[in-house]
């Protein structure tokens, strides 16, 4: 059995039969996971400096050189690396007195921080499977982002307290601005206008307080509040739709969760995207008291100026590990990164590796190198490499950069 590091569900029941240079047959991988595994065989990186192929040693030496000489380096990425690599990365940031940030900054960071600090009640996905009778996907479309979420945990499987079929024993609620693939499957879909999340939450709170809702179809809203009240165990899965909509009004969501817990038992599991984003956030919290956006210059400083979206413009050098910010971030931020002294550790070619001064190829984490990671719900999962490879892991590359500095 192999573990799929294609998303933060870290499915552990993957069976792969190999032949030379290809996968002969893979069982239980979803389309997304299959794409992740197939990525082994295309667009692999080679060590390079200034666009010219070099030896691995030369690339590592040049990377160390750039980072050592930078006045204000940023170390970014991390969500696609093992806990072991992340630990070395944080040590490297300390040594360089660098800024360090990960994808959570513009992803699930706001919610995950509250979960990790115990401000939002959470549970494991196994608890969801065994006990939940209401699953709420809010601004999330797991069918596309985490394809096996519904079948492994949140809607379709049998669990210790959910022995009957999903039609009888579970409700699935989707709140979204569009009828997503998941909305088509759920038992109750609520369409909201963009930015309407706060009003939706307030309307449910109002009903729970015995008032009339001022938002949406009153009858349906009251019906939903009634589903919420009757639940034995509810799980809320907020996606980026909710996070981006509430940004600085997250307390409204916290109030709703608190109110729901007055009437029943509700847990929140943020829909973390990358396979080990939560792992990095946990390590950072232990180390600094914050989950991301840290500068180690003269101590430990936290703040939005250290987020990748801000620091990309101010930093003179950037180390990117296992991430493609030039694809995923707004163009102006991507262009700042492209113009900085950019060092990239990545198994595969991307817009970011193409723009980098130094590219260091790494083993694909979970496929060619082993380690540990933290699933979206906090469960630690170990994985072994399933393909033989001479490539160094992120951890080994980062250790060598550390030694060179």
């Amino acid at each position: 059995m192999a573990v799929c590091t294609g998303c933060s569900l870290l499915c552990e029941d993957i069976e792969v039969a190999l032949k030379t240079g290809a996968i002969e047959k893979a069982k239980n991988l979803c389309r997304k996971g299959q794409g992740h595994f197939q990525a082994l065989f295309s667009d692999r990186t080679v060590p390079s400096v200034e666009g010219g192929e070099t030896s691995l040693d030369q690339a590592i030496e040049k990377a160390a050189n750039i980072l050592m000489n930078a006045k204000d380096p940023l170390l970014y990425g991390w969500s696609n690396s093992s806990l072991e690599a992340q630990k070395v990365g944080i040590e490297l940031a300390k040594k360089l007195e660098a800024k360090i940030d990960d994808t959570s900054s513009f992803c699930q960071g706001q919610l995950l921080e509250r979960v990790l600090k115990g401000e939002l009640p959470s549970c494991t996905l196994d608890d969801v499977r065994n006990f939940a009778d209401v699953s709420v996907f809010w601004g999330a479309d797991p069918s596309n982002s985490h394809p096996r979420h519904l079948s492994r945990f949140s809607y379709y499987p049998r669990g210790s307290k959910r022995q009957k079929g999903y039609e009888e024993e579970r409700n699935c609620v989707v709140i979204d601005v569009r009828k997503s693939s998941t909305a088509k499957l759920c038992s109750d879909y609520f369409r909201i206008p963009p930015g309407g999340d706060a009003e939706f939450a307030e309307a449910i709170i109002a009903i729970l307080d015995g008032k009339m809702p001022r938002f949406g179809d009153k009858k349906r809203m009251i019906g939903l509040a009634s589903i919420f009240k009757k639940a034995d165990f509810g799980a809320i899965f907020p996606g980026l739709g909710l996070v981006y909509s509430l940004v600085q009004k997250m307390e409204i969501f916290e109030n709703l969760v608190a109110r729901l817990n007055d009437v029943s038992n509700y847990k929140v599991v943020p829909m973390v995207g990358h396979y080990n984003m939560r792992g990095f956030n946990e390590l950072m919290l232990d180390e600094t008291g914050y989950i991301n956006q840290i500068s180690f210059k003269n101590g430990v400083h936290h703040g939005s100026e250290n987020s990748v979206t801000m620091a990309a413009k101010s930093s003179d050098a950037c180390l990117v590990v296992g991430s493609d910010p030039l694809s995923a971030l707004p163009f102006v931020i991507a262009r700042s990164l492209a113009k900085s002294q950019l060092v990239v550790i990545d198994p595969r070619r991307s817009l970011t590796t193409d723009a980098a001064k130094v590219v260091i190829p790494s083993a694909m984490s979970g496929l060619e190198s082993g380690g540990k990671a933290v699933r979206m719900d906090g469960v630690r999962i170990s994985f072994e490499p399933i393909f033989e490879s001479n490539l160094l892991s992120d951890e080994e590359i980062l250790t060598r950069i550390m030694e060179a500095i």
Binding site: S42, F106, N144, V243, V247, F331, A338
Partner: protein, 128 residues
């Protein structure tokens, strides 16, 4: 004549799969350089399913393929996957919000005879 649209980014498993295979593949471009639009909005712009539409705001200008939605009507709203194409149009003016407006991209849309903006051109823009 153009119309104002709010673009919301979303995740699509097929676009993700294409990007995993190769960021530089035609499949990734085809599935990224497209916008899902409301039927009436398309009629207003004189667009048929699959025709090209120009999206422009103060950040940038790109040409992508317009795809007619199979959802309920959503005039004024349109959907794109998160990709180097949609990111051309996302404001960097994030101030203390940190999170860029990936799901609130305001643009002017108009019918276009130009070809779809390709990845090579986006890469060129990154260098300048």
């Amino acid at each position: 004549m153009g119309i104002d649209l709010r673009i919301i980014t979303f995740r699509d498993i097929f676009q993700y799969e294409a990007g995993k295979k190769s960021r530089f593949s035609p499949e990734f471009q085809n599935l990224s350089a497209q916008i899902i639009m409301d039927k009436d909005d398309m009629v207003q712009l004189g667009l048929k399913d699959g025709q090209n539409v120009c999206l422009e705001n103060e950040m940038s200008k790109i040409v992508v393929k317009a795809i007619q939605t199979d959802d309920e009507p959503h005039p004024g709203l349109a959907f794109m996957t998160n990709s180097p194409w949609s990111n051309q149009l996302v404001k960097d003016n994030i101030n203390d919000r940190i999170i860029p407006d990936f799901k609130a991209i305001l643009v002017q849309a108009s019918a276009s005879n130009e070809s779809v903006t390709n990845l090579a051109e986006l890469l060129e823009r990154l260098r300048h």
